[in-house]
């Protein structure tokens, strides 16, 4: 459920179209996808806040959570719990 919504967010924000559906937890994000810039980070965090009804503070955010789909999923799952 959370994974599907997160993939939808990534697909929407990054404009991945069909590549969005092909994302797996091992898929690399920052440093792998050329679309993954600072603006994308902000848009993804915004979408996570709006769609899951949570607030993310910037001291929780570091480069590590954006390494892969799996690391971002772990972060979101933790937030929503």
């Amino acid at each position: 459920m959370i994974e599907a919504q997160l993939k939808a967010i990534l697909g929407d924000v990054l404009g991945l179209k069909d590549r969005g559906a092909a994302l797996t937890p091992d898929s690399g994000l920052m440093g792998t996808l050329p679309e993954f810039d600072s603006m994308a980070v902000v848009s993804i965090l915004t979408a996570i806040e709006e769609r899951f009804g949570v607030t993310v503070s910037d001291d929780e955010v570091d480069a590590e959570i954006f390494q892969t789909v799996g690391s971002l999923l772990a972060f979101v799952t933790d937030k929503v719990a």
């Binding site: 924000v13 969005g20 980070v41 902000v42 848009s43 009804g53």
Partner: protein, 268 residues
């Protein structure tokens, strides 16, 4: 349909206005524009949406707020209250011949509570596109944009640090927009909540994302408006996030949804 472009004499200087009008209008909508870069991303889509709406008898007016677009003033001098003055002025410019509605895009939604309070009864419906419902969260997201851009440039900043700068009375520049402390404080104080929407006959909220239910804040808002005796609808349109996408997007599904919802509200 060619839009009419004009400079209106607004309460705080010249206001650049784009009006789509027709011979026999059925309704007029005042567009409440999103903030900063999001308006630039949306502008072409809004023009196309306005063209589709006016073909259906729905006229629209979009003004560039003080210090934005082609209107007078510097962004750094912009204040929330002067923007509201200008939107109130634009509401009056819509005349009294047909029912008036609001069409709020993203953070444009944050103008709605104060605008309805200033002019009770003037507006009978509101259409929201991906509304920003918490000014405080929105401001933090803007500040985060600056923090992330700095981080990518190797400079460490924090949202809390920038908030302190604002609190000390210093302006903060975000992606080319100089945000005055007074503007930041006013934005962060606004919340779009059900009580503010009382008095509207109908509220439509559209979110744009890949097939999912409306987001939690929107579901809560719709339920609260309903509980207060109003009529509110939420829907999700599966298309690009046109206010944020790197390439300019003008999804036909977004335009179609606006036309359909306006037609539905006029039939009701």
């Amino acid at each position: 349909m060619t839009p009419e472009l004009a400079y209106l004499e607004g309460p705080h200087g010249a206001l650049f206005a784009v009006r789509h009008s027709t011979v026999v209008p059925r309704r007029r909508l005042l567009l409440l524009p999103p903030f900063g870069e999001e308006l630039n991303k949306c502008r072409a889509l809004l023009t196309r949406t306005a063209a589709a709406l006016v073909a259906d008898g729905v006229e629209t007016l979009l003004v560039d707020l003080h210090g934005t677009g082609d209107s007078a003033g510097e962004f750094g001098a912009a204040r929330w209250t002067s923007w509201l003055d200008e939107l109130e002025f634009a509401l009056d410019a819509l005349g009294n011949e047909v029912p008036i509605g609001l069409f709020a895009v993203r953070s444009g939604a944050l103008f709605v509570p104060e605008l309805l309070a200033r002019r009770p009864g003037r507006v009978d419906r509101a259409l929201f596109w991906q509304p920003v419902s918490s000014g405080n969260q929105f401001l933090k997201q803007l500040l985060r944009l600056r923090v992330m851009a700095s981080k990518f440039a190797g400079v460490e900043e924090s949202v809390a640090g920038l908030q302190q700068e604002l609190a000390r009375g210093a302006a903060v520049e975000i992606a080319g927009y100089e945000i005055a402390p007074a503007l930041a404080a006013a934005i962060s104080a606004v919340k779009l909540a059900a009580p503010a929407l009382q008095g509207l006959a109908r509220v439509d909220i559209v979110e744009f994302m890949s097939g999912a239910d409306p987001t939690l804040p929107v579901r809560q808002l719709v339920a609260a408006v309903g509980a207060a005796g109003g009529e509110a609808h939420a829907e999700v349109v599966d298309c690009e996030q046109f206010w944020a996408s790197q390439e300019l997007a003008q999804p036909a599904a977004a335009i179609a949804s606006a036309v359909r919802l306006c037609a539905a509200s006029m039939a009701a």
